[in-house]
């Protein structure tokens, strides 16, 4: 699990927009407990509401953010976030 405070990629993100993957982010809302790691790791696509629960972009994950998205998925202590093929996530 990666530390949310360690973000070596800060500053280098959102620059190169080359392509778009076929996956999007989905949250299992029953599992999600609002820990907030995902929004720390992928702020381009995830922000938190007033109670700390994620508001996730429904767009496909751009290629240049895929690694970060995978890290956000891996970091969730509740395994509540996933990358899924189009139409298979909410």
């Amino acid at each position: 699990m990666s530390e949310p405070s360690a973000r070596p990629w800060d500053g280098a993100r959102g620059v190169a927009r080359v392509g778009t993957s076929r996956v999007s982010l989905g949250i299992d809302r029953i599992r999600c407990d609002g820990r907030g790691y995902c929004a720390e790791l992928l702020p381009e696509m995830i922000r938190l509401d007033d109670w700390g629960y994620p508001i996730v972009s429904s767009e496909r994950v751009p290629d240049h953010l895929l690694d970060h998205a995978r890290r956000a998925v891996a970091a969730c202590p509740l395994l509540a976030i996933r990358l899924a093929a189009d139409g298979r996530s909410r």
Partner: protein, 403 residues
Amino acid sequence: MSLTPLLDGPDLREGAEPAARHLARLGPSLLSGPELIDALDQSDLRGRGGAGFPVGRKWRSVAGRQGPRALIANGAEGEPLSFKDRLLMQARPHLVLDGAVLAAGAVGAEQIVLYIGREHSAAADAMLHALAERPATERARIRISRAPVAYVSGEETAAVQFVNRGVALPMSVPPRPFEAGVGGRPTLVQNVESLAAAALIARRGGAWYRSSGTLLVTVTGAVARPGVVETPLGTPVAEVVERAGGHPGSVQALLLGGYFGGWVAADEAWDLPLHPERLRGTGHALGCGVVAPLPADRCGVAETARIVSYLAGQSAGQCGPCVFGLGAIAETLRRIAVGRSRPDDLARLDRWSAELPGRGACRHPDGGAGLVRSALGVFADDFAHHLARRGCAAARPLTAGVA
């Protein structure tokens, strides 16, 4: 042909129509299996539980799966303003059973569960008695399950989970019931009115339904004779309100579609067609078919606060955005309604209700948020009044000028 095919037959006050009379009146089904699914596609029948999903497509999604399948006939009817499902089960149980058996045959379901709201005793009794009149081969496949009294009990994953393990709480999707439902089997969850309509389509065809189909509408609120009205698809809202005895006094707004629906200003509402697709085209939703004029002496803000408070209390409590978001919206509405608003309350309501949809395992938060958004538009003046005057105006007649 009759204008009320769903509720035709003996006087409704006589109770359930017996099997022999039902069969003599309607005759046997002519279509079944894939032919019936084709006819459903042609009919453009939409689910009558609230979501309005095309019924033919839903059946096809289950029919195309492998292995044993199941069917839940959904008569939970947890919406407090809706009475049409229980009336249908009480009065025409065999039409519902016909639909369930036809659906099971068409999608390949061996097992049929009649899922009936625990508070709907008369409906459950009627279905139980009707079941006793059916052939033994049918009876062996059908059982009755009583849905707990809660708004979310009728949500399709909640129905599945109740049948599976006695807990009527929505589940995360995927898998959806058509993929894995009762006992892990692909399961069709279909509202009882939809099933009854399918049983008529099996006799009269898809083209007949498209031109002459009807729906059951619960007309309640400020009308002289609240009740269930069967009416042709596309009937204007004003006409069903007239058939319920009309509204005494003036009406500023109507609730369309139940607690999951939305407020519509009366001027706009009267001409709206009660038709799933055409109504959607106007930006409104038929939902489960509730039409409720707001009594002239009630305040739209207070009424919305009451409904959203109910919905917040009915959250299954599983998903953070629903628990906290709906809860906070309800609290804010109550505070505004009693004239104790805080600065930025309106902006918060606007933002929270925009952020909620799509952020629960089920659509419960979406429903509450949609209702609030419609209220912010339709009752904009009333919100302004409450926010500015800070006095309790809950009893202020909606139609009165500035007091």
